[in-house]
């Protein structure tokens, strides 16, 4: 008998992950990986937070620890603490009991369950608007969840490297009522360009005016500015307006728990009373996907979020990680100015978070990879965490050569 899958076509490799594979295969000793979005230390090593290690040791030493199933909606202590973390312990939505929080498979899983919930229980024709520049997987998750392919709202002004708020508002002003608007809570991926507070208020205005439903993707709370509160300002401001909204959280970067797949989805309702029904349907969605979420990462996160000392230690780690990123931004900008690379490089320090949109064209990106073995995604996005003191000048020199040798195309 032949396989029923004999005619299955080979799918194209994932752009970002394909880059890592290419980097790994590259034998050149000068190679620099500015592709993947994982934090690296100043010695270019992966980093496990000491507070995470300590909690893992505690768990391994605890004779009463088991591997029993979590409920479908996950570890409750984790979910409750996670909601408080993003919404604020004094959030009116929490006080009113209008928040339903479930554990999710990191940010991706939170987005998927959230969108599936909308598709199944609000409407499968709900329009979803994503920023024109956004994490590439957003555009995969949305149709996979059963919604129409995402529409775009303009986001970046390429000439300034900052948010083009007029265009953004103009585009959202055309969105039909009830549409979902995907918003990056902070540290926009891939551009690093975040709205100012005044701009966030303008976005809130159009959301209210057009009766849109925000879906916040929070992959970098605390990791962006170093402050959990500052990085949650956008979400909390929208919650304070009393809207229906969805909130996704990931602990991949801010707790360094990438492979543990720790995340949460909160459904915030504008009126109370729907929580039981919402929870039951989120659970049903989860049950048919993977039954219940993985335990280990959630146990670690819950321990940190639930203990004053561990939490304070974690806050210290966030300051350190964000400071290293900021340090690399400052040094890269200085190096680009020092070697007189054509262009205005203010954006390197005005953008925030792990990523920076350099403005390099795909041809220039290819040039840098082939000649200098410096790897970044084709859209010119660099991961600041991939830079170290040793490589920052080399990368700046490579960028100068690319900008000068390769005439802008794209």
């Amino acid at each position: 008998m032949s396989s029923i899958f004999s005619s299955v076509p080979t799918a194209p490799p994932d752009a970002i992950l394909g880059l890592t594979a290419q980097f790994r295969a590259d034998p050149d000793p000068r190679k620099v990986n500015l592709g993947v979005g994982a934090f690296r230390t100043s010695s270019n090593k992966p980093y496990v937070l000491p507070v995470v290690r300590r909690v893992e040791q505690q768990l391994a030493d605890d004779p009463s620890a088991t591997h029993e199933y979590l409920p479908q909606d996950g570890l409750q202590s984790f979910c409750d603490a996670s909601a408080r973390l993003i919404l604020g312990a004094d959030s009116p939505a929490l006080a009113d009991g209008r928040v339903t929080t479930v554990q999710a498979l990191s940010g991706t899983g939170a987005l998927r369950v959230g969108f599936a919930f909308v598709a199944n229980f609000i409407s499968s024709s709900t329009a979803v608007y994503v920023p024109k520049q956004t994490w590439s997987n957003h555009r995969n998750v949305i149709p996979a969840a059963g919604l129409p392919r995402a529409l775009e709202y303009r986001y970046l002004d390429p000439s300034t490297g900052a948010v083009d708020i007029a265009a953004l508002v103009e585009d959202l002003d055309k969105a039909p009522a009830g549409s979902i608007v995907l918003l990056h809570g902070c540290a926009h991926n891939p551009t690093g360009a975040d709205p100012t507070q005044a701009q966030w208020l303008q976005i809130l205005d159009v959301v209210k005016r057009r009766k849109l439903v925000p879906f916040f993707d929070n992959a970098y709370q605390g990791f962006a500015s170093g402050s959990l509160e500052t990085d949650a300002w956008s979400v909390r401001t929208f919650v304070a307006a009393g809207l229906d909204m969805l909130v996704a959280q990931s602990y991949a970067k801010n707790m360094g728990m990438y492979g543990e797949r720790v995340g949460a989805l909160s459904v915030v309702a504008s009126t109370a009373g729907a929580e039981d029904a919402v929870r039951s349907q989120l659970k049903a969605t989860i049950r048919a996907m993977y039954s219940s979420p993985p335990k280990h990462g959630a146990m670690v996160a819950a321990a940190i979020l639930g203990d004053e000392k561990l939490f304070a230690e974690w806050e210290g780690e966030l300051v350190k990680m964000s400071a290293r990123i900021m340090d690399m931004r400052v040094k890269l900008k200085a190096a680009l100015e020092k070697n007189a690379t054509p262009g205005n490089w203010d954006r390197i320090t005005s953008q925030i978070g792990m990523f920076s949109y350099t403005g390099l064209t795909s041809q220039q990106v290819t040039f840098m990879r082939e000649k200098y073995h410096v790897y970044m995604t084709a859209n010119g996005r660099i991961s600041m965490a991939g830079l170290t003191d040793d490589t920052v000048q080399y990368v700046a020199d490579a960028m100068k050569d690319a900008v000068e040798s390769v005439v802008k195309q794209d």
Partner: protein
């Protein structure tokens, strides 16, 4: 249980909307949440049993709804090689970087060797497409979507956009939901015979013969959930021939390899029989029970194809399915399995303790049946020891289940399914007595 649910609904506070409006005539109603119209989902039957059990103050209460192994004093059991592996892993101070989309290659290679056999030539020639999954559920979901997207029409003509997946009647309650959410159509084939409390083999064969050619047929490799009723080796051979003749696609769900008889090879016999007979199987594996890793969600999906090229194509499509669902799978659980299977001593301990779990379950079956016979029950309880694995389809009626709950504080699901893991040498006597009383 139902009374409690009703009471909870009645006692829920009124929505704020109503409580803050002085008069509808003067103030426009505040807009309600878009989520207000979401319907309440169905109650989880098993959860209901647990909730009722927990609320019962009777010291003799027994929970026969538990879906995880319990030791002879009713406690969760962490295997000692698993504990040792965890200690070593923490000591090794590994990173927590993302796994690839398809998960840990080391784990997957070990998993498929456990299922197909250490020396299986399909595995060696790279014909087996495979990925790490979120336990058995995740494997079934990945396969369901793969089938929905790529199952071709058997002969000329358009392919079915909602391919038929046949489940045994009954099957694990979640199977239907998984395949429906995958976009497949769910059907059934005859399986359990309530009259004999065993396999309705003739009915099974004829319903598979009546099904449209090229249907996807889900088979429980061993320890059928919820009945515990498994085909004999001869019956498996006949089923293999029927599926071949009908060009059906076999899809094995193997959640209890090693946990059923105590022996990994014996429990995989049905899978290996089909592979040897030339079927290109789809296989979902769970490591929840045989490694006791339940909540860490350790599983594997494999698809036997005709060539390495095909396997790579299938691998690429599986990644396309996984990426927008969860990006990449969790690392903690597979590290434990890798650690155990890479150390001969730990592996030996694992096989021994897994056998211990299986043997405890089997001995509880023997004791329960023995006590019932001693008590002079006139019912036939052969099925208790004929059925395999964690579950026993007792044949106890809905009314008798209610009596067991209300009069004896013995809790099980309405369909009469007993989780033998909830039976201990301490409570088996009480249980036998209770069952005897309600079935006299």
């Amino acid at each position: 249980m139902f009374r409690q649910t009703l009471f909870r609904h009645l006692s829920r506070p009124l929505p704020r909307l109503l409580s803050t409006q002085p008069s509808a005539a003067f103030a426009p109603a505040a807009p309600t949440s878009r989520f207000a119209g979401v319907p309440q989902g169905p109650e989880d039957a098993i959860l209901g049993v647990t909730v009722a059990f927990n609320a019962d103050p009777n010291p003799n209460k027994i929970n026969l709804g538990v879906g995880a192994y319990r030791d002879d004093v009713g406690l969760p059991f962490v295997l000692s090689p698993v504990r040792e592996a965890e200690r070593r892993i923490v000591h090794a101070q590994h990173h927590m970087e993302y796994l690839p989309v398809a998960g840990s290659r080391t784990f997957v290679d070990k998993a498929i060797r456990l299922a197909y056999g250490e020396h299986n030539h399909h595995v060696k020639t790279g014909q087996v497409a495979s990925m790490q999954t979120l336990s058995g559920t995740g494997a079934c979901r990945m396969a369901g979507v793969l089938i929905q997207r790529f199952l071709p029409a058997l002969d000329d003509g358009p392919r079915d956009e909602s391919p038929l997946v046949l489940l045994p009647n009954p099957s694990w309650a979640n199977h239907a939901a998984i395949f429906r959410d995958s976009g497949c159509t769910v059907g059934q084939y005859k399986y359990y015979d309530p009259a004999t409390k065993s396999l309705d083999f003739e009915g099974c064969v004829s319903s598979l013969e009546d099904a449209p050619d090229g249907s996807v047929v889900l088979l429980h490799a061993c320890a059928h959930n919820p009945t515990g009723v498994d085909p004999t080796p001869e019956q498996w051979a006949k089923l293999s021939a029927v599926l071949k003749e009908k060009r059906h696609q076999p899809f094995f769900d193997m959640a209890y390899q090693g946990f059923t008889s105590g022996d990994m090879e014996v429990d995989a016999a049905s899978v290996r029989r089909f592979v040897d007979d030339g079927h290109r199987i789809v296989l979902a594996q769970s490591f929840s029970k045989n490694f006791g890793l339940y909540g860490q969600r350790v599983g594997c999906l494999s698809v036997l194809t005709d060539s390495q090229e095909e396997a790579l194509a299938v691998d690429s499509q599986l990644k396309i399915i996984a990426r927008p669902m969860y990006s990449n799978p969790p690392i903690a659980g597979v590290r434990i399995v890798e650690e155990v299977l890479s150390d001969p001593e730990l592996e030996r301990q694992w096989r021994m303790e897994m056998k211990g779990m299986a043997e405890r379950i089997i001995s509880m079956r023997t004791m329960l049946k023995g006590y019932l016979e001693e008590l002079g029950s006139v019912q036939n309880w052969d099925h208790i020891t004929n059925q395999n694995g964690m579950f026993c389809f007792s044949g106890i009626s809905k009314e008798q289940v209610a009596k067991l709950r209300d009069e004896h504080s013995v809790y099980l699901t309405e369909n009469g399914r007993i989780s033998m893991a909830g039976v201990t040498s301490q409570n088996v006597g009480y249980l036998a007595n209770a069952v005897h009383k309600v079935t006299m």
